[in-house]
């Protein structure tokens, strides 16, 4: 391998990239957009559902119970109502998702141990329904002391994310998702594009070796991957107070492993794809299972066994375990050696395969 030639290819790649406004915008825009999307909009723990209260009892006890429910922050009072019928109307109009009805005989029912409060839910949205289910767990039915809010019948205790904020869980994984999406696609497209434009026929008639060509094309993108990682880390810390309990060095090591794994996968795709469009399709073929099976969105443990096998083959699965371990639990890479090793093996296999499959020939 000739370092000057390698350097020339890298410089050429960076120069072309600098002129490619769309790709540049994607490199910076994608992390920002996804962070905001996943961080704010896709909030897996529902909060502030619009609600209305019809308190027909109007006793000190009923007001206190209603206050307790509002204090949970699962609901937020958006409208007022006098009767349960008005609540139903509001629900139907879509102005509220949850209605709280306190019957006139609230105190009596409480003493009798019967249901004292009715929570009406917009059942057409099952996420809302399950969120409202949490409300029903509030200790209102206890006849003796309804102020004892600490004695919740079922308590959910979350260790590393006590406030159960999903952003904290999502941001570290998001680094992986963004790297998977951009890195695979960029390399695959970068090589297929040269074939499409005819540049490859010129390149392969020069003394450039296969290894020089592949590594020279891939390294600039590895740098870009680490820039994206930095961007997500900074924004995550700033916007969502995502903690970093492990070492920054380990975070970058883990990110580098994922970047290289994805780049070598991109290379492999580029040796098979005939057009940029095909390269894109193949990328999404890998991307979709990565998002769904890696544990980024759904817990790994809850998946059927075959899905888990597939997930073990995906670099993102291992990265998610690494990065959550490092950032949220303060683990270091050596604690998580099986996943680091899995990523290294993935890189070795993909690189060998792609250099094998890439020929300096047209047929």
């Amino acid at each position: 391998m000739n370092l000057r030639r390698l350097w020339a290819i890298m410089i050429k790649e960076l120069r072309q990239l600098r002129r490619d406004r769309v790709t540049l915008a994607m490199i910076m825009g994608m992390p920002v957009l996804q962070l905001i999307l996943f961080g704010y909009a896709i909030n897996l723990n529902l909060r502030y559902l619009p609600a209305a209260v019809a308190d027909q009892s109007q006793t000190a006890g009923s007001r206190a119970a209603v206050q307790d429910l509002l204090a949970s922050e699962v609901i937020e009072q958006h409208a007022t109502a006098q009767t349960p019928q008005q609540l139903i109307d509001l629900l139907r109009q879509g102005r509220i998702s949850v209605g709280i009805a306190v019957p006139p005989d609230f105190e009596r029912r409480k003493l009798d141990g019967r249901e004292a409060i009715q929570v009406m839910v917009d059942g057409s949205d099952n996420v809302v329904q399950s969120a409202a289910g949490q409300l029903a767990q509030y200790p209102l039915n206890q006849p003796d002391d309804f102020h004892a809010t600490t004695e919740t019948p079922i308590s959910v205790v979350s260790f590393y994310n006590p406030e159960r904020r999903s952003a904290v869980n999502i941001v570290p994984g998001l680094i992986g998702v963004i790297l998977t999406m951009t890195m695979v696609l960029f390399t695959a497209v970068a090589i297929v594009r040269e074939t499409e434009r005819g540049n490859m026929e010129l390149l392969i008639t020069t003394p450039v070796s296969r290894t020089e060509l592949m590594i020279g094309k891939v390294l600039p993108y590895a740098g870009i991957g680490l820039i994206q990682t930095t961007l997500v880390l900074l924004l995550g810390a700033w916007l969502f107070q995502v903690p970093l309990r492990g070492s920054l060095w380990d975070v970058y090591m883990a990110a580098s492993l994922l970047v290289l794994a994805n780049l070598s996968l991109g290379l492999l795709i580029s040796t098979r794809a005939k057009s940029q469009f095909q390269a894109m399709q193949m990328t999404f073929f890998v991307f979709l299972p990565s998002i769904l099976l890696s544990g980024f969105m759904f817990p790994f443990a809850g998946m059927p066994t075959p899905a888990q096998w597939i997930a073990e083959l995906l670099p993102l699965t291992h990265f998610i375990r690494l990065i959550r371990g490092i950032m949220l639990r303060g683990a270091d890479l050596s604690d998580l050696w099986p996943d680091s090793l899995a990523l290294l093996a993935f890189i070795a296999v993909m690189l060998t395969l792609s250099i094998r499959l890439f020929h300096k020939r047209l047929d």
Binding site: N2, R5, R15, D20, N199, L202, T205
Partner: protein
């Protein structure tokens, strides 16, 4: 070191059932401009690609600059320059950046690279365009840049695939001047074309037709074989004269060029009088004279013979 730059025997390339190149045998002497003449789809590009090791021949042996191809293709790559039919430099790099990239990749030292790029920019009249993006150059400028790129490392052999297809006649002449300059310094040049006037300039040429090599030699040798078989007819009604002559015995082809007809005979027994009487018997008048054969005629004869051979084989 031999005097042959390229030596190919029974070169064949099949794509599935299609025979793109059929048993081509070829010898290209050193320091010579060797033309590859053939219509679209005749296998020019395929042959050139096999010669530089980009395509593996289905059958046949190739030796280029003393190296066995495709086995020793990697060694060959330092010694040849290849200009693809389609512009293959980087559209989104400047003229200078393209040349610098190729110079580095071809292994020129840092100092050599600098002087060589400056020299090429000057020689190919690109110095005032050096910061322009290659993709925005005109057709002729692109060809010059591509030639500069192919010669950056002073290769012994240049393979040029239809280098002048998008270029005006004036630029084509300039381009060919450059080719002869290169040949004078000892570079062997294989150039494909479908322009007769370009073929005529070559030291030697091979004519390809649907994958077959149908004739080769110097332009003089090739046209010399047709001596006495070509005539020019100026008739008042060229269309009628054309019809009258087309199926006359001994006539191989009649082509109309403006108001004149170019008649090609099957052998050299015919004279001006034969044609005159033929016209007269059709009630037509016309001036007839013998002319010297052109490469176009060579091409017509060669493809015709090939057709006959194929019909016999069938």
């Amino acid at each position: 070191m031999t005097d042959t730059a390229i030596h190919a025997r029974g070169l064949t390339k099949r794509f599935g059932t299609l025979v793109a190149v059929n048993a081509v045998t070829l010898d290209v002497p050193r320091a010579c401009v060797y033309g590859f003449l053939g219509p679209n789809g005749s296998g020019k590009s395929t042959t050139i690609r096999m010669l530089c090791g980009l395509l593996t021949p289905t059958e046949g042996d190739i030796e280029v600059l003393g190296l066995h191809i495709p086995q020793q293709a990697e060694q060959l790559k330092r010694r040849i320059g290849y200009m693809t039919q389609k512009f293959s430099l980087f559209d989104d790099l400047s003229v200078r950046q393209n040349l610098e990239f190729l110079a580095t990749v071809q292994g020129l030292s840092r100092q050599r690279e600098k002087s060589r790029v400056a020299e090429l920019l000057k020689r190919y009249h690109l110095d005032d365009r050096q910061e322009q993006l290659a993709g925005t150059l005109s057709g002729g400028q692109k060809q010059r840049l591509a030639l500069a790129g192919a010669t950056v490392h002073d290769p012994e052999l240049l393979l040029l695939d239809e280098p002048t297809s998008a270029v005006d006649p004036e630029s084509r002449r300039d381009f060919w001047e450059k080719l002869f300059e290169l040949a004078d310094t000892g570079t062997t040049i294989l150039v494909s074309t479908h322009y007769m006037d370009e073929a005529e300039r070559c030291h030697r040429l091979a004519i390809l037709d649907r994958g077959n090599l149908v004739a080769d030699g110097t332009p003089k040798e090739l046209t010399g074989e047709l001596e006495g078989r070509t005539f020019l007819v100026r008739a008042n009604s060229p269309r009628a004269a054309r019809d009258a002559l087309a199926d006359a015995p001994g006539v191989l082809s009649v082509a109309q060029i403006g108001n004149e007809l170019r008649v090609l005979m099957r052998d050299n027994r015919a004279t001006v009088d034969t044609l005159r009487s033929r016209l007269a018997s059709a009630g037509l008048e016309g001036d007839t004279e013998a002319v010297s054969p052109s490469l176009e005629d060579v091409f017509v004869v060669a493809t015709h013979q090939q057709q006959q051979r194929e019909e016999q084989a069938a």
